[in-house]
Amino acid sequence: MTETPACSVRGLSAAYGTTPVLRDVDLEVPRGVVLGVVGPNGAGKSTLLKAMLGLVPPLAGQVEFFGRPLSRVRARVGFMPQATTVDWDFPTTVRDVVTMGTYGFLGWLRRPGRVERERTGRALEQCGIADLARRQIGELSGGQRQRVFLARTLVSEPDLYLMDEPFAGVDARSQQAIVGVLHGLRQAGRTVVIVHHDLATVRDYCDHVALLNGTVVASGPVDAAFTPENVRRAYDVATADDPFLDVIG
C-alpha cells in the first residue's frame, strides 16, 4: 500500500461572491516534495491555497491532509499568507508575531511558555532575523517582513507548508535566506507547496509543479509536467515559437 499523500484535492471549486475562480481542481501532493503552483495572474493560485484551508469557502470538492480533514490535522499544516494582508503599523514586535505561530497547537487558553520561547528563538535564527527580534514590525523592509511570516510558519514545525508567494517583493538577500529555509525543509523531508511567479526558477526550487489557470492544466514531476506545451496552455500563448517560452529553460 502506498503512503497517503500529504494533501489531496478532489473536484475543488471556489468563487469570490458569484465569480467562479477555481473549477474542478484535482491535485495530489506527494510527501516530501516541493510543489510549485504556477500560472498567470487571476489563475486562482492564492485562492487555491485559501480554499484548501477553508479560508475561502469552497463551492464543491474535498480536501484531505494526510488522509484526513483539516480540522483533525490542523497542527501538521502551516500556512504563510502574503505579507500585504496585515496592518504593519500594529504595535507588536517581530518576536511577538513569530510567537503567535505557536498559538495553533497551544489551543484555547494555554499561554506560550518555555518550549514556545525556544521554538520561537530557533525559527528567528533559521530565517536570519534573530537580530530584529525586538523591532516593531513596521520598521522592517519587505524582505524582512516575509521572513517574519516565514518564521511564524516554521515555529509550529508542521509537516506540510503552504506558502503564498514567499518571494514577492523580496530583495536578493532575503530571497537567499528564504531559499535556504526551503532547501532545509526539503532535506528534512517536509512537504512544501509554494505559489510561485518566476518561471525561470521553477526548476531550481521545485520537484513537482502544478500549472493552474482556473483549473489544473497539468501537474506532476517537473520534468514531466513543466513542458513548453503545458506552459503554453496555462498561459494562453498562441504560438509554439513565442519567445515567452524561453524562460522555462
Binding site: G17, L53, L55, R74, F79, P81, T85, V86, D87, F90, P91, T92, T93, D96, V97, M100, Y103, G104, L106, G107, W108, L109, R110, R111, P112, Q136, R152
Partner: protein, 302 residues
C-alpha cells in the same frame, strides 16, 4: 475644592470611583476596537443601550419591580446592544453593504426605537421614571453604593474576559485570517464583542450615550502614540481612560453645575493632543526634532 476634600465627600467619591472604573474598562477594550479599526462599534453599543435599558425599565415596572435598579437596566442594555452588534456584523458579512454603513443603519434604528420608548415612558404613569433622560447626555451626580458595586463588577468582568482570552484577542486583532487558520475564528470576535459591550453599557448612564464613544476611542488613540507593544498599549489606554474619568468628574464638580460627561471628554482630548504632539517615536513634535537633527548632520558633512 482640593482633591482630598473631594475624595473625602461620600457622594463625590462614589462618582469619582464609578467614572474611573468606567474609563478603565472602556479604555482597555477600546484599544482592541481601535486596532481592529472598529472603534465605531462602541457607538452602536451605546445607542442600542438606550432601548435596552428603557425596555428593561418597562418590563421591570410591569412586573412590579423597582425600575431604577442599575443591574436590571444594564441587563437590558447588554442584551439589546449585543443584538445590535451581532446584527451589524451579520449584515456586513452576508451582503455587500460595507461595515460602516451597516453600523450606521443599525445604530439609528435602535436609537430611534429608544427615543420612541422614552416618549412612551415619559407620557405614561410609571413610578421611578425620573432620570431616564440621563441616558442621552449622562448624569454622574448620583452614583449609589449599589450602583458602584454593579459598575465595578461589570467592569471587572469585561477586563477579566480580556485577560483570560488575551492570547486569542491579540492574535485575532493582529491577523484575523491567520487566527481563523489556527482555529480561532468568529468565536473570538463574539467574546471581544461581549467584553466591549460590557465595558460600554456601564458608562452610558453616567457619561451619556452620545459621548460614550469618546471613552472608547480617545484613550486608545492617545496610548497608541506612546508604545510599540500591545500589552503596554492596552494598559496605558486603560490608565488614560480611568484618569480621564476620575479627573473629569473632579473638574466638573469644581466648575459647579457642569455635567461630568463633557468634561471627561475634554480631559481625554487634551491627553490625546499632548500625545500627538509630544510622544516619542510617532508624534508631530518628535518628527520635527528628528528632521532638524538630520538636516543639521547633512549640512555638517557637506
Amino acid at each position: 475644592m482640593n482633591l482630598f476634600e473631594f475624595l473625602g465627600n461620600h457622594t463625590y467619591r462614589m462618582v469619582f470611583l464609578g467614572t474611573a472604573a468606567i474609563g478603565l474598562a472602556s479604555g482597555a477594550l477600546g484599544a482592541f476596537a481601535y486596532l481592529r479599526k472598529r472603534s465605531l462599534v462602541s457607538d452602536v453599543i451605546s445607542h442600542a443601550a438606550l432601548p435596552g435599558a428603557l425596555g428593561a425599565f418597562l418590563v421591570a415596572v410591569l412586573l412590579g419591580l423597582d425600575g431604577r435598579r442599575l443591574a436590571l437596566l444594564l441587563l437590558g442594555a447588554l442584551l439589546v446592544s449585543g443584538l445590535a452588534v451581532a446584527a451589524s456584523g451579520h449584515i456586513a458579512r452576508a451582503s455587500k453593504v460595507r461595515v460602516d454603513t451597516a453600523m450606521a443603519i443599525v445604530l439609528t434604528v435602535f436609537f430611534g426605537a429608544g427615543m420612541l420608548l422614552m416618549r412612551v415612558i415619559s407620557d405614561g404613569p410609571y413610578p421611578g421614571k425620573g432620570g431616564i433622560q440621563d441616558y442621552l447626555f449622562g448624569n454622574a451626580t448620583v452614583i449609589t453604593r449599589a450602583d458602584l458595586a454593579t459598575i465595578v463588577a461589570v467592569a471587572a468582568l469585561a477586563i477579566g474576559v480580556m485577560v483570560v482570552f488575551w492570547k486569542e484577542f491579540s492574535l485575532r486583532t493582529f491577523d484575523p485570517a491567520h487566527s481563523a487558520f489556527l482555529g480561532f475564528g468568529r468565536r473570538v470576535d463574539g467574546l471581544m464583542s461581549v467584553a466591549l459591550v460590557l465595558a460600554v453599557v456601564i458608562g452610558v448612564k453616567a457619561v451619556g450615550l452620545v459621548l460614550m464613544v469618546a471613552l472608547v476611542v480617545t484613550p486608545a488613540a492617545a496610548a497608541r502614540q506612546w508604545t510599540r507593544r500591545l500589552p503596554t498599549m492596552v494598559a496605558l489606554s486603560a490608565l488614560i481612560g480611568a484618569m480621564g474619568g476620575g479627573l473629569g468628574t473632579y473638574v466638573s464638580v469644581n466648575l459647579g453645575a457642569v455635567p461630568p460627561g463633557p468634561v471627561v471628554v475634554l480631559v481625554l482630548f487634551t491627553v490625546f493632543v499632548v500625545s500627538l504632539l509630544l510622544a516619542p517615536g510617532r508624534s508631530v513634535g518628535h518628527r520635527l526634532v528628528q528632521r532638524a537633527r538630520v538636516r543639521r548632520a547633512l549640512r555638517e558633512t557637506a
